[in-house]
Each structure stands twice: as structure tokens, then as C-alpha cells.
């Protein structure tokens, strides 16, 4: 920090004049960079490499939607659309119900990757009827892995309450791991934009897609629950658990969203778990007195008819069907009239 005196040149001062070549080189550099920068910034939007965004809309983030394929398989000749199992323990009921719609080997081929969607919406003990029966799930996974030689079974849901806790308290995680499957929990990366043509509310919506990677077959495992707003939460409403985003808005048109769900996903088949039917105070339940011990397990390939049958026989609410079933029928997801399409295997 030598003190500088006025008018006296610093002893270390050295003159370094620029020669012509140097000047030209620098001028070319400035011109080149400046020109390129001006092109990128100012060229019309449709020119190649132009970065211009005249309206400010181009820079809007884009979520490219994907479409979900149908997971349905062709109906086996001679089998019913709805299978009912009422005899034996829950596991036998499950097997009978599936056998009535064609048997599980008909639906799942060796080497398939199967995703099972139980309802794990709340951190409740399974006996309270708010979540799927873990015993059925465990056995279903065994059937898939052993009988059908499926390659992999995944279990996924996006619950309302904390996902790890819900899977833990509802014993679904334990059942999955004992059975040989793997639980996929939703985290911030799990959701992608799903395009469902024809849907009224969720034409483009966040969908819990990560576990669906390379999946061949999808099975719903839904409990039957009372629901104040849409009257009943059954097989179709179960798919609500695959939505992400601000899904609590959908209660403003609950029948619209539930019927949209029926076209959003076309499962291979759906199992309705009537072992613990939540008759009132749904869909959370919370008291054993709300639960009716059911004797029935249903399986079906027609989601509309299956829900209608469950509404009538498991919730025991007669034929005053919730409106979403009619809407789903109108959207072509199935036929509501289940009569003559039900088969029960006994003995």
C-alpha cells in the first residue's frame, strides 16, 4: 500500500499499448459474442435456437401428460362378471370369488408385474373397517407369486394421513412384506401428469405413476365404507388414492370424480373386501360399533356392476344407488344392472 503522490508516476507503471492485430482480435471476439447473444435474445421465436419469449408464455413449465393403458384382459368364456365368495375363511372366500370370474391364472400370466391397490387411507387398525383387510392382501400376493408366478407384486396407495404410518398401522406393510411384495410410498417424485380422454374433472391430473412403471396388471382391493357425501366408498372410489395434487377440491363434484376414476383406470379386476364393512361414520370409522362383520368377498371385472352389487348386498342399502354409478355407466365403464351376471361358488 504505497502512498501515491500526485503527478508522479508509480515506479511500477509500464505502458502496454495494443497493436492492430490484438485490437482486431478483441473486436472480433466482442462482435462474435455480442452478435450471438443478440441473435439468441432477439431473433423471432420460431427461428432455430432463438431463446426469445415475446409473450412470456413460452417459459411456462410444461408437464407432458402420459396416458394409462387398459389393464383389462378378455373375459373367460363361461365365467361371470361378478364372483361371490361367502363360504370358509376369508382366504377361501377370496379364492372362490376369483374362481367365479375365471380364476386368477386366467388374469395373471407368469412373469407379469402386478400392482395391487389396497385402501390404506387412514392410520386405523384393520378391524375398524377403514382400510383393506391385510389377511386378504397377503394371500392375494401369495396367489399372484406362487400360483400365477408373477414376477413382482407392488402395493401402492397415497393415503390422506401420513403414508408410512398408515401402511404401518393398517398392517398393510407387514402383510405385503410377509406375502413377498413391496410397498411403494408416495413421495414428491412419484406423481406425473396423467391424461384421461373423456374425463370431466381429471382430463389432466397428477397421478401416482412411479409404481406403475412397466406394470402389466392392476388389481384393486377395496373395502366397503359408508361415505356421507357420495354415500358409499367401494371399488371405484378406491382409485381416488392414486390421485395427487389438490384432490380435496373434488368433493365439490364427488359423483363426477368417482365416475371419472372409472375411466381413468381400467383394472384387470377388482376385489371388494366385505370382511369388515364400515356401515356408518365413514369413511374414517374409528369405533368397532360402526363395523359389520361381513361374510362376503367379491371379485369382478365390471366395476360398475360390482359396486352396485356391493352397495345392495354388503352395505345393504337397497337399490337407491349413488349417482356416480349412473354417471360411470353413462361414461361406458360398465353396466349397472348386475342381475344374471353374478356367480357364487360353493362347496
Amino acid at each position: 500500500m504505497a502512498k501515491k503522490s500526485k503527478g508522479i508516476q508509480h515506479p511500477g507503471y509500464e505502458k502496454a499499448p495494443m497493436d492492430r492485430r490484438d485490437f482486431l482480435r478483441r473486436a472480433a471476439l466482442v462482435g462474435g459474442i455480442g452478435g450471438a447473444a443478440s441473435y439468441l435474445a432477439m431473433a423471432p421465436e420460431n427461428w432455430p435456437l432463438s431463446m426469445r419469449d415475446k409473450t412470456g408464455l413460452l417459459s411456462k413449465p410444461v408437464h407432458l401428460p402420459f396416458q394409462l393403458r387398459s389393464f383389462q384382459v378378455e373375459k373367460k368364456a363361461g365365467s361371470a362378471d361378478i364372483g361371490v365368495g361367502t363360504e370358509g375363511n376369508p382366504i377361501e372366500k377370496l379364492r372362490r370369488a376369483i374362481d367365479a370370474i375365471g380364476g386368477i391364472e386366467h388374469f395373471i400370466k407368469p412373469g407379469d408385474i402386478v400392482l395391487v391397490k389396497p385402501n390404506v387411507a387412514f392410520d386405523r387398525s384393520p378391524l375398524l373397517g377403514a382400510t383393506s383387510n391385510p389377511e386378504l392382501l397377503e394371500h392375494l400376493i401369495r396367489m399372484l407369486l406362487v400360483d400365477c408366478r408373477a414376477q413382482e407384486v407392488r402395493v401402492a396407495d397415497n393415503p390422506i394421513e401420513s403414508p408410512p404410518d398408515c401402511f404401518e398401522k393398517s398392517k398393510i406393510r407387514l402383510a405385503t412384506e410377509v406375502g413377498g411384495g413391496r410397498v411403494y410410498l408416495p413421495d414428491s417424485n412419484s406423481f406425473e401428469m396423467l391424461n384421461t380422454p373423456g374425463a370431466k374433472l381429471i382430463e389432466n391430473w397428477w397421478f401416482f405413476n412411479r409404481p406403475f412403471t412397466n406394470v402389466d396388471k392392476v388389481i384393486g382391493l377395496a373395502p366397503v365404507k359408508d361415505h356421507n357425501l357420495c354415500h358409499a366408498s367401494m371399488g371405484m372410489k378406491n382409485w381416488y388414492g392414486l390421485l395427487g395434487g389438490r384432490r380435496n377440491q373434488f368433493h365439490q363434484d364427488i359423483h363426477g370424480i368417482v365416475s371419472d376414476l372409472s375411466i381413468m383406470i381400467k383394472p384387470t379386476f377388482t376385489i371388494i373386501d366385505g370382511t369388515n364393512v364400515l356401515m356408518e361414520n365413514g369413511p374414517t370409522g374409528g369405533d368397532p360399533s360402526n363395523v359389520r362383520k361381513g361374510e362376503t368377498v367379491l371379485a369382478g371385472t365390471d366395476p360398475v356392476a360390482l359396486d352396485a352389487y356391493a352397495f345392495e348386498h354388503l352395505l345393504q342399502r337397497g337399490r337407491d344407488y349413488p349417482e356416480y354409478l349412473f354417471q360411470a355407466e353413462a361414461k361406458g365403464s360398465g353396466k349397472l344392472d348386475w342381475e344374471g351376471r353374478v356367480k357364487e361358488i360353493r362347496g
Binding site: L127, L128, D287, P288, R319, E323, E339
Partner: protein, 372 residues
């Protein structure tokens, strides 16, 4: 240029001391073992807990189960302000009962839902799978309401199908009827009782009453309802064909034998809209009658009928607008006539006299004793 600036410490650890004592060595070895044991202890704690503290047992939930004794306000229905205006001041606004007679409520019974109406385009919302059947029979409109009697814990729903015409109603009734159960009549209503309610017709209306329990109260109410529907049907506000009234009221023909044929009556393409009825269920004698419409010529129609009948009948008598014919193979007799806009007759009679007396009974009933 300044010397290269360092970011990280580049000096290795060095030991300057020359002596490491046994005590230090033993302590070090001992300490490492101690650390290992601590680690093991910590890891072992993972399973050392009481899982019941993290959840509540079902037994406890069941014993602590609370009764849901909340009062839940029933659904408050929307009421048209115009109706409220006409109601007596201070009185509770009457529920809109639509087509239903007002006496369906009262005596403890109150509407538990709003009256709903469905037409052919949305009928499936109410009854889904069966809707096409109704539409095939000429369905016009469904009026639906449910009633409840709170103190008795009863409720029932009324499906009141406006089938546009009585024949349509009879058609759907015939298709859905349980023939095992006895038919009852009140006014212009014909119905039978089921365990949970009633099914029947009243004029052009086909009604289904279904209750929530096998209970005498439901049956009682079903009867009352059928009665008021019968009054509704005969009140003149609704259209009951005269031919049906003649058969069922004047001639007391049992309801089950009354049949309406719309086209191709007697397999004649020109004969349309005939009513049939048998005075005796077991017998063969059968009345038939037809009201001549504006587009038809009474004399011409009568002549066509008689001449076509003669293809397999022998005419015994044919004069003055009355013809008596005998079937060539069945040996049964029929008589027919045309008068004042009506074509009427009786067939299946065992002899000519019976046929003629049936004809005159029919005529008497038709014209109510005038000119006999």
C-alpha cells in the same frame, strides 16, 4: 499472480512424542471394546419396546365404544315460495306432492323425500335395468316420493308411473304381475298386496308401493294409498277409456280377463283398439267392444267384420245391425252389433241365445239403459 490459495488443510497428522505407554495401550484397547459393546447395546434396543403402547387394542376399543346418540336434523327440503304464499299464515309450508293426492300424507305419515319426476330420458337413474321395459309399454313419466311414519319407524316409497293410457298401464302390470296373489279393487284401482306393499294400476297409472318392513302398518298404508289412487283415477281428471269402464263397472267383468288389443284384432288388419272381457273367468263367453273413431265408418267397419267372420262362421241371423254367427269348427256362437259409435259383441257363447243376451247386456251397459 498470487500463490495458489489452499481450500483444505493439507497437513498430515504427525506424532512428535516418542513414548506411548502401556497404560494408554490397555486403555485404548479397552475403550474400543467398550465402544463396541455400546454399539451393540444401542442396536439391541430396536426390538426392546412395547408395541401395544403405539396402538390401542380392539378389546379396549369395543369396551370404550360410545353410543352415537346425536340428533341429526332431517334433510330440509326446498319449498317453492309460491306454495308458501298460499299456505295459511304461520302454518308449515306444505310439501309439494305434485300429482299425488294430498291425502297420501297425514295420520303420522310425512314425505321423507322431495317428489321426484323422471321421464324416458332419465328413467334409468331411478330404476336402471328395468327402464327399457317401461319405455316399451309407452312410459310417459315417473312420479316418485317416499313417505315415512317416524314414530313407528316405517317408511315406504311410491313409484307412480304415468303410462299415458290405461292399456299401457295394463300392459306393464300384466308383465310384472304376480298371478298367485289375489287382486283387489277399489274405485278405478286394481291392485294386489305384497309382503312389503302393493302393486297395481289406477287408470293410466301403474304404481308400486314398497315399504321397509313386513309390518301391518305398511299394508294398511298401501291399501289407503291404493284407495286414494283409485279415487284419483275415477275423478275424471284422468282418462279412463269408456270401454274399460263399461266392462269393469257396468258388467262387473273380472279385471284379470280384461284385455286390450291394439292392432290386428281377430287377425284382421282393419280392426284396431278392441277391448275384451270375460264375465266368468272359467267360461268361454267373452265380450268385446270398440269405440269407432272419427276416421272410421261405423257401418263399413261392421260390414267388414261380419263378412270376414263369415269366412269361418255360418251366419244364423244378420239383420237390423245385429248379427249372430256360429263358428264352423268350434260350434261356438257369437253375436255382434254396431250402434251409436260402438261396435260390440260377444263370442264363445254355447248357444245363440246366450250370445244374444250377452249382446243385449252389453248394449244395456253401454248405453246405460237408454233405448232399451
Amino acid at each position: 499472480m498470487p500463490p495458489q490459495e489452499r481450500v483444505f488443510n493439507n497437513r498430515a497428522r504427525k506424532v512428535f512424542r516418542s513414548r506411548i505407554s502401556n497404560g494408554e495401550l490397555y486403555f485404548s484397547a479397552g475403550f474400543l471394546v467398550f465402544v463396541f459393546i455400546m454399539g451393540g447395546w444401542f442396536a439391541a434396543q430396536g426390538t426392546n419396546y412395547d408395541p401395544t403402547e403405539r396402538d390401542i387394542s380392539m378389546a379396549l376399543m369395543e369396551s370404550g365404544s360410545v353410543e352415537d346418540n346425536l340428533y341429526r336434523t332431517p334433510l330440509k327440503l326446498w319449498v317453492d315460495p309460491e306454495q308458501t304464499a298460499t299456505a295459511a299464515p304461520g302454518a308449515a309450508p306444505a310439501a309439494n306432492l305434485g300429482i299425488f293426492p294430498p291425502d297420501i300424507v297425514g295420520n303420522g305419515w310425512t314425505p321423507s323425500s322431495r317428489m321426484q319426476e323422471f321421464d324416458a330420458s332419465n328413467l334409468y337413474e331411478k330404476i336402471n335395468g328395468q327402464a327399457p321395459q317401461y319405455v316399451d309399454f309407452g312410459f310417459n313419466r315417473l312420479h316418485y316420493i317416499s313417505l315415512e311414519k317416524k314414530d313407528a319407524g316405517l317408511d315406504l316409497s311410491i313409484e307412480f308411473y304415468d303410462m299415458a293410457t290405461l292399456p299401457n298401464a295394463m300392459g306393464i302390470f300384466g308383465a310384472q304381475r304376480d298371478v298367485e296373489r289375489p287382486l283387489e279393487q277399489t274405485g278405478d284401482a286394481y291392485y294386489y298386496l305384497t309382503d312389503l306393499g302393493a302393486l297395481g294400476i289406477a287408470g293410466p297409472f301403474y304404481f308400486k308401493i314398497s315399504g321397509n318392513a313386513v309390518d301391518p302398518g305398511i299394508i294398511e298404508k298401501s291399501k289407503e294409498l291404493a284407495e286414494s289412487f283409485g279415487i284419483l283415477a275415477s275423478s275424471g281428471n284422468v282418462d279412463v277409456p269408456k270401454a274399460f269402464a263399461v266392462l269393469s263397472k257396468a258388467l262387473k267383468v273380472p279385471f284379470e280377463t280384461i284385455i286390450y288389443e291394439k292392432i290386428d284384432v281377430f287377425q284382421f288388419s282393419f280392426a284396431k283398439d278392441f277391448w275384451f272381457g270375460k264375465p266368468d273367468v272359467a267360461g268361454d263367453l267373452r265380450y268385446y267392444l270398440h269405440q269407432v273413431t272419427d276416421t272410421e265408418d261405423q257401418a263399413r267397419l261392421y260390414a267388414d267384420l261380419v263378412s270376414n267372420f263369415e269366412a269361418d262362421h255360418d251366419a244364423i241371423k244378420n239383420d237390423g245391425g245385429v248379427a249372430v254367427l256360429k263358428h264352423q269348427f268350434l260350434s261356438s256362437f257369437q253375436a255382434l252389433s254396431a250402434d251409436r259409435g260402438w261396435i260390440f259383441g260377444a263370442d264363445g257363447a254355447p248357444d245363440a241365445e246366450t250370445a244374444e243376451s250377452a249382446l243385449s247386456a252389453l248394449k244395456g251397459a253401454l248405453f246405460n239403459g237408454q233405448e232399451i
